[in-house]
Symmetry: C2
Subunit: 347 residues, 2 copies
């Protein structure tokens, strides 16, 4: 089946509850338990997929169940031996806490469950940052976004009546006023700022982020803004400088945390003699770095992709040691800049 | 006051209800009555701004009132003589119907009200399509988006308790669970598809659109998609073909109808020998046109910017006569392509 047919089948499954429900028993599934994602062991991080019957049995061994209510439609994938397409679902369940007098902790139970399912459970943010394949990251972004959205959109914001959620979790209709709501996510501009000589980049440290990690400036678009206006405003709000030119790069990434967004990459040029004044609610610091400093941070990050050797002392936490890992669009933007692939803005 | 200070002041007004309320009596305002926008007369379409006291008096002459509850914050603008910044609000009110036995129709009343306010009332879509300045279009997009959003988001989608709307209409907080909701709008890919020789473009006619108007393929991004994936999927869904390469252009536009969106421009290349199969729910037709055919439609559109001579017969309605007017990003994309500014994708 070709790409066009696949896209149209997915579109059909999204809105036809009965058709999708009848596919559920032959679907494949990826799993979150207690909001932690099942991924492969080893250095190459991937989602672990299970066949429906296999997952039902292995979870059943631990007294856990799933059904369509806690599952969302992620994709249409080929069945093992045949060319038929079947749904790929993301299912998110909660594990009951063990009794207080239990000799086994919940953490141990999840460790064993992970072993039985051929993987381990990890934090969703860490998974987004370390999964190598774009398609898999985007499936995880969809899984996390739809799961969170479906947990919130239970009542009509206009009339407070119940919302009837689609099986796919791609929309919900008010049972009273018939208004349809779709999963909400917002465009975000993420901008690598360089100086006019293109030899320096301005990177920032977010409040509460891992020690020593610096990244590009990002922020949600507001109603009525173009992406370029969004980038210009966010840079002014967050670091207090004006940029001379803004150019969109050919890169974007869905990102589900803390709120669902679609990050769109930009490059801006700013003079280095402007006084930086960071927005203290969001940022700890913003600083200009040379190519050499940034390249060293890239090398450190690639050598320690799971950020296990993050600096602990306060001073060191505020020094550039790392950039975001490979899964983040900021990593790709910074790498491209270092590799000379991001030519100066032509605006 | 510089750009950085202005941006930070707007950010402050957005969340500080009391501060913004105290600015209201010295604000400036743009106006919708019965969902129609007040714009200037004459060939150059602009928003009409009024001082608070002036608008209050002139509306009062017609028995109409406004207050902060039906106003949203659009921008910070300079006061006439001073460098002080004051808020620019958009206010949207409903006019009561005249009594049944009234000799004057509502349409006539609005005509007179428009005269008194130095303009005329027009459909928001037509205003978006014909306002020449990007800043003014984006202000209108914000006005329309925030007004519609604030009318819907009255109750918490999670717990159904009342939402407390900010004075600026930039957010609303649940009085019970404290969850904060922000105006929703979605990224949309809009893609000009050309053939590998770059001499032909694929344009589409939407169901229910004005007769003889053809445009680029567009559609809402779904959760978990990059913009390029969105463009690829929408093209498959709507016209049934696969594209070889997709490149983002340096152009985007907020668009508030029918739902609020942020349109991001792309260019894709597709072979012309693929069978086109349009999605009948959305499109009437999709066809390849030569540069010459598209240039002629651009000329017709520029010569009749208000689309007053649209074809009426069924056959003629399905023939390429017009492209969208200057206010639409599709117009800019098609113009750039005709002017050779959209070089072939390098992907």
């Amino acid at each position: 089946m070709g790409y066009v047919e696949k896209v149209r089948l997915l579109d059909y499954w999204k809105i036809q509850d009965t058709a999708l429900q009848s596919e559920f028993p032959r679907s494949r599934l990826v799993l979150m338990v207690d909001r932690r994602l099942l991924v492969t062991n080893g250095p190459t991080v991937k989602l672990v997929e299970h066949k429906f019957a296999d997952l039902r049995q292995k979870l059943g061994d631990y007294g856990l169940q799933f059904d369509m209510s806690n599952s969302c439609l992620l994709d249409a994938v080929e069945e093992d031996e045949e060319a038929n397409l079947i749904p790929l679902f993301g299912t998110s369940i909660d594990a009951a806490d063990p009794p207080e007098d239990s000799p086994i902790s919940k953490k141990d139970v999840l460790k064993k469950l992970g072993d039985s399912l051929g993987g381990r459970f990890t934090d969703v943010r860490m998974a987004m940052l370390t999964i190598g394949e774009e398609r898999q990251r985007n499936l995880l972004a969809k899984f996390q976004s739809l799961t969170k959205w479906a947990a919130v959109y239970r009542r009509c914001p206009k009339c407070a009546a119940a919302l009837k959620m689609r099986t796919s979790k791609s929309g919900a209709e008010c049972v009273t006023c018939q208004r349809v709501y779709y999963p909400t996510f917002s465009p975000v501009s993420i901008t690598l700022i360089t100086d006019p000589t293109n030899e320096h980049a301005l990177l920032v440290r977010h409040r509460g982020s891992a020690g020593g990690v610096f990244t590009a400036v990002a922020g949600f678009a507001h109603s009525g803004e173009s992406m370029a206006e969004c980038a210009r405003r966010e840079i002014a709000e967050e670091v207090g400088i004006e940029v001379e030119s803004i150019r969109s790069l050919n890169m974007s990434q869905p990102w589900p945390m803390p709120d669902s967004s679609l990050m769109v990459a930009h490059h801006a040029v700013a003079k280095m003699d402007q006084k930086i004044s960071v927005c203290p609610d969001e940022l700890e610091t913003a600083q200009w770095f040379s190519r050499e400093q940034v390249r060293q941070a890239l090398d450190t990050t690639l050598a320690d992709p799971f950020l296990k050797k993050l600096p602990r002392t306060l001073d060191d936490r505020q020094t550039l040691h790392y950039i975001p890992p490979v899964g983040a669009i900021a990593h790709q933007m910074i790498s491209q800049w270092l590799n000379g692939k991001m030519e100066r803005s032509s605006l």
